[in-house]
């Protein structure tokens, strides 16, 4: 045979096959091929191919189109029928439907709430223009030879300038540094013409490079962005501050004075910063106040440094050169202080969730918390889906005859599956509607406990205004419809009509087994969440109940005056003497810092004779002579500072931790020893006493080595007043009055140390509350499912219990009979759950330096309450069967 002729053009063939009805295709194709092969002989291949194309296109006429014809002509009718029967079924079994829909909608609502929270967290700092080019220059520090690197959010003053000078890839750099670094507490005051000065303590005031305002998108409502920080006496304040000091007046060009000494001109009004930024700024000063000495300093890593790259630069390129940069500028410093430093660039939008370094401007979020919440929301949804699956399959017997009839009349398995999927879609659709309603209602409460501030718009807009919410709703709807609907649909559609219509109803053991596994799974999740809540709150109360090493009851803290002149020391003594005359006041002391935050005054100390490598970081606290008695810190050896001993200016008191790290075996051994401290150079200090360890920070942190020193009247920021009174209000009023008299012009700001200290646990409490909310939701959904299942099972066994009662079973026996299987499931869930919770709980507790010891007692409350709850639900549902008169339950047939 000669070689086969070339086939007709492939594209035309494909087109033909696509549009042509399968029945017609063969005939038509046959004719077309016959013509084609004949034409090759008569008019040549090329023209034959062209003719083939023409013919195929020519044949594309309605009679040949086949797609629509292949589907069942009454598809729409059947679909409408499915919807109708879904509706009727739901209506007929109201309780069952309600439980299903309610459970689903709670699960969905939890997901939507979490999504909203996650969105809020992810939106931090995303509003800046050129976001992808903004980075923060983080500084990593470690002691020589140690691998542990501590990263801080602030850098050396000179880093920004050097970086910009050396690297052409960098478009701009900007630094901001907290004013508090320079002057402790700061007071702003405005003196209106002819009025009394308006004076307040202010926090979150920063000295900023002029480039800062251009780099970040914080709009000025008044003033020129370009020039607002161009002069050393410029100040930019927020709208809130403007309102506070100037009221209705126009603040622009007016004078604000800092600590009564420096006069500043308002050159810009900054729009109040939104919550969704890692900055917290009330006022900005110009960095022109810095001398070249500061600007070129490679010490003092307190300057938050930001970098904007050129559009064509890559961050990898710049970051790769940072090691060389650090070595070039910091080589000497690192050697001198025996430390290692490294710099990294962190995208500004990652700071909120991936920051949490030392020296963050404000508290950052936590990626782990966010992930954990996502997991919990998913678990709740899973519980709801399991409810749906369990309830639908357990009801299969009721639906069996319907399925049987449908099949006899001609429904195929696919049709039945489609029917049940339609039912599932209807339920999920209703559920998503309810879920949105719930979210709108819960949102305000949730946002409050989760600490989310919504700036504008109604709750409703907040929920539905986000495109991602709609996406999530669609995913929840489809996920629910298919994931939860598919299994019951397959089970129900697999019934054989003959058996079901004849009444051969079987409860396949395997399926019951599957349902039990599901219930155990739900119980485990529910139990974990209750126990988790218990552990969180146990840890919280544990931390708050521990001895701190000092007494913070009735300890009033007043900020030391910022507006002072040469008489400051005298006035301080006067204030002390005047207050001590009052019976309600036990003791007063001055100090540079107070417990409740991470004290930043850290220096290297060592024994005088040792090398610097043996040294370690210790926290320095400047105190007066009355500090230990005011705080009631116990001294285990030696003495505190004494006014009459002149040399105490070079004396220090260590805490036990520092003594241990220095390598002394007992506190007495260290007395009168000389310790070297590295500040700018080495200083020798004599140890005069040893104090007990204190918890300076929350118990999430470990105890630190402390060095107390005596500033002899200088460098105090706080007044610590030990009260002994029932009448707090009058005492405070007295303190305020005396303060006003002794330190005129200074605003008085005070708080109780215990309240202040407690603020450190705010994040934990927030986490605990959010966790509780979701635990409650999870339990609610699980209980709904249990309720439905118990009610169904007891209704199935109505007749059985009737007969048992007739034969002499007691009510108690009936309860036991019906409740037994659920109680077994709880027992199994407890056995499975405890190791899981044990592991997870310890994992979470590992974040805390001081933590509760988990023991089996933690589980007692959750397990018993779970047990009780289940028992109650089962009891309630069984009572219908157990208490009813057998005459009634057996009468109908």
């Amino acid at each position: 045979m000669s070689k086969p002729l070339p086939k007709p053009p492939r594209l035309a063939e494909l087109f033909l096959e696509w549009y042509c009805h399968p029945e017609i295709l063969e005939i038509l194709q046959g004719d077309l091929h016959e013509l084609y092969y004949r034409r090759i002989g008569t008019i040549g291949l090329t023209r034959a191919r062209l003719c083939y194309y023409r013919d195929v296109i020519d044949n594309c006429r309605p009679y040949a189109w086949g797609k629509a014809k292949s589907s069942s002509p009454n598809f729409m009718d059947m679909f409408i029928n499915y919807v109708i029967s879904a509706w009727r079924n739901m209506y007929k079994r109201k309780q069952f439907s309600l439980i299903n829909i309610l459970g689903l909608s709670i699960g969905m609502a939890a997901c939507l709430l979490i999504l909203q929270y996650v969105n809020h967290q992810k939106n931090f700092d995303t509003f800046h223009t050129d976001l992808d080019r903004l980075y923060r220059l983080n500084l990593g520090m470690s002691e020589a030879g140690e691998s542990e690197v501590t990263y801080r959010a602030a850098n050396h003053p000179a880093a920004a300038l050097a970086l910009k000078k050396d690297y052409p890839q960098i478009q701009e750099t900007a630094r901001i540094v907290d004013v508090a670094i320079f002057m402790g507490s700061s007071v702003l005051s405005h003196k209106p013409e002819g009025g009394t000065p308006i004076t307040f303590y202010e926090e979150n005031m920063y000295v900023a490079d002029p480039s800062f305002l251009k780099m970040f998108s914080f709009p000025l409502v008044n003033g020129e962005l370009e020039t607002a920080l161009d002069h050393r006496d410029n100040i930019v304040i927020t709208e809130r501050l403007a309102q506070k000091y100037f009221g209705e007046e126009d603040p622009m060009g007016k004078t604000l004075s800092l600590n009564g000494a420096i006069n500043l001109t308002v050159t810009g009004i900054l729009q109040d910063l939104p919550q969704i930024t890692h900055f917290e700024i009330n006022a900005l000063f110009s960095s022109h106040v810095f001398s070249d000495g500061i600007n070129n300093a490679w010490i003092w890593p307190e300057f938050h440094t930001y970098v904007k790259l050129l559009p064509e630069a890559t961050v990898e390129d710049v970051e790769g050169q940072l090691d060389g940069f650090v070595n070039q500028y910091l080589g000497d410093v690192m050697e001198e202080f025996a430390i290692r430093e490294a710099m990294t660039l962190q995208p500004v939008q990652d700071i909120h969730l991936h920051g949490n370094l030392l020296k963050e401007i404000k508290e950052t979020g936590n990626q782990r918390t966010v992930s954990f919440l996502i997991l919990i929301a998913f678990m709740i949804l899973l519980i709801a889906w399991i409810n749906f699956i369990n309830l639908s399959t357990s009801r299969s017997i009721e639906r069996a005859s319907e399925v049987g009839i449908r099949k006899v009349v001609g429904a195929a398995k696919e049709n039945i599956i489609l029917q049940f999927l339609t039912e599932s879609a209807v339920m999920n659709g209703l559920a998503i509607g309810f879920a949105v309603l719930m979210v709108v209602l819960i949102s305000p409460y949730f946002n409050r406990i989760a600490g989310v501030e919504i700036i504008s718009g109604s709750w409703f807009r907040q929920v539905l205004g986000e495109w991602s919410t709609w996406q999530a709703m669609l995913i929840l709807f489809l996920g629910g419809t298919f994931l939860a609907g598919l299994y019951p649909a397959f089970i129900l559609s697999s019934f054989q009509p003959i058996k079901t219509i004849k009444g051969h109803l079987y409860q396949a053991g395997q399926r019951v087994h599957f349902r039990h596994v599901m219930v155990v799974f739900q119980f485990v999740i529910g139990l974990s969440m209750i126990t988790g809540t218990v552990i969180v709150f146990k840890q919280l109360s544990f931390m708050r109940s521990q001895e701190l090493g000092f007494n913070m009851e009735q300890l009033l803290i007043v900020k030391a005056p910022s507006i002072v002149d040469s008489t400051g020391a005298e006035r301080a003594n006067l204030f002390r003497e005047q207050l001590l005359q009052q019976a309600q006041i036990q003791q007063i002391s001055y100090s540079s810092d107070i417990p409740g935050y991470n004290i930043q005054n850290i220096n290297t100390i060592k024994r005088r004779e040792e090398n610097i490598e043996e040294g370690f970081f210790a926290t320095f606290l400047n105190t007066d002579e009355h500090f230990f008695s005011t705080y009631q810190i116990e001294l285990v050896a030696g003495r505190g500072f004494l006014e009459e001993i002149e040399t105490d200016i070079n004396a220090i008191v260590l805490n036990e931790k520092a003594v241990g790290l220095l390598g002394y075996s007992s506190p007495d051994e260290v007395l009168d020893q000389i310790i070297s401290v590295k500040t700018n150079s080495w200083h020798d200090l004599k140890v005069v006493g040893v104090a007990k360890n204190i918890h300076n920070q929350s118990l999430a942190h470990g105890q630190l080595p402390f060095v107390f020193f005596n500033g002899r009247g200088f460098g105090y920021d706080y007044l610590n007043i030990r009260l002994n009174t029932e009448d707090i209000h009058e005492t405070i009023a007295n303190v305020e009055k005396t303060y006003g008299e002794v330190f005129p012009g200074n605003p008085v700001e005070h708080f109780f140390l215990d309240d202040y200290f407690d603020k450190q646990y705010q994040a934990d409490r927030k986490f605990g509350r959010v966790f509780t909310l979701f635990a409650v939701l999870a339990i609610l959904v699980a209980c709904l499912g249990l309720f439905g299942l118990a009610s169904y099972i007891s209704s199935l066994r109505t007749k059985e219990t009737g007969i048992r009662k007739v034969l002499g079973a007691s009510t108690a026996q009936i309860f036991l009979l019906l409740g037994k299987q659920f109680l077994w499931l709880i027992v199994i869930a407890t056995i499975v759950g405890i190791p899981l919770i044990w592991w997870g709980g310890n994992e979470w507790l590992a974040n805390y330096a001081y933590r509760v010891k988990l023991n089996l007692w933690v589980f007692v409350l959750p397990v018993t309450s779970f047990f009780m709850m289940t028992a109650l639900i089962v009891f309630w549902q069984s009572s219908k069967a157990a208490l009813v008169n057998p005459v009634k339950s057996l009468r109908t047939e």
């Binding site: 005939i27 091929h33 594309c60 009679y63």
Partner: protein, 106 residues
């Protein structure tokens, strides 16, 4: 009476005259030979399909032959309705044309 288009009439005549060999390409060939008319294959198939729906043609699927690489043919034949329709069409023509001078239609 069902209206018969002029192309449909030609197709019916061709199918009728081909006997049991009337399939798409054969009908097309015959029309080309006798009438000089070159129907497109699309128009032809469409017409065949339409006539079948009107009940004037009957069809069956023939056996596979090597001629078309094993692809089967669909054969058509006239139904009584089809024959009647042809007859009627012819009658109408005859009646009308009889009065035309110089025309011999036999």
């Amino acid at each position: 009476m069902k209206i018969l288009g002029s192309f449909e009439e030609l197709v019916l005549l061709a199918v009728g005259s081909l006997g049991d060999q009337a399939y798409g390409v054969a009908v097309k060939d015959l029309l080309e030979e006798t009438g000089g008319k070159k129907p497109s294959i699309g128009a032809l198939h469409s017409a065949l399909h339409r006539l079948e729906e009107k009940g004037m043609l009957d069809s069956w699927i023939g056996g596979a032959t090597s001629e078309r690489g094993g692809i089967r043919k669909k054969y058509y034949s006239l139904t009584p309705i089809g024959k009647k329709a042809l007859q009627e069409a012819h009658d109408v023509r005859a009646k009308l044309s009889i009065n035309i001078q110089g025309l011999n239609l036999g």
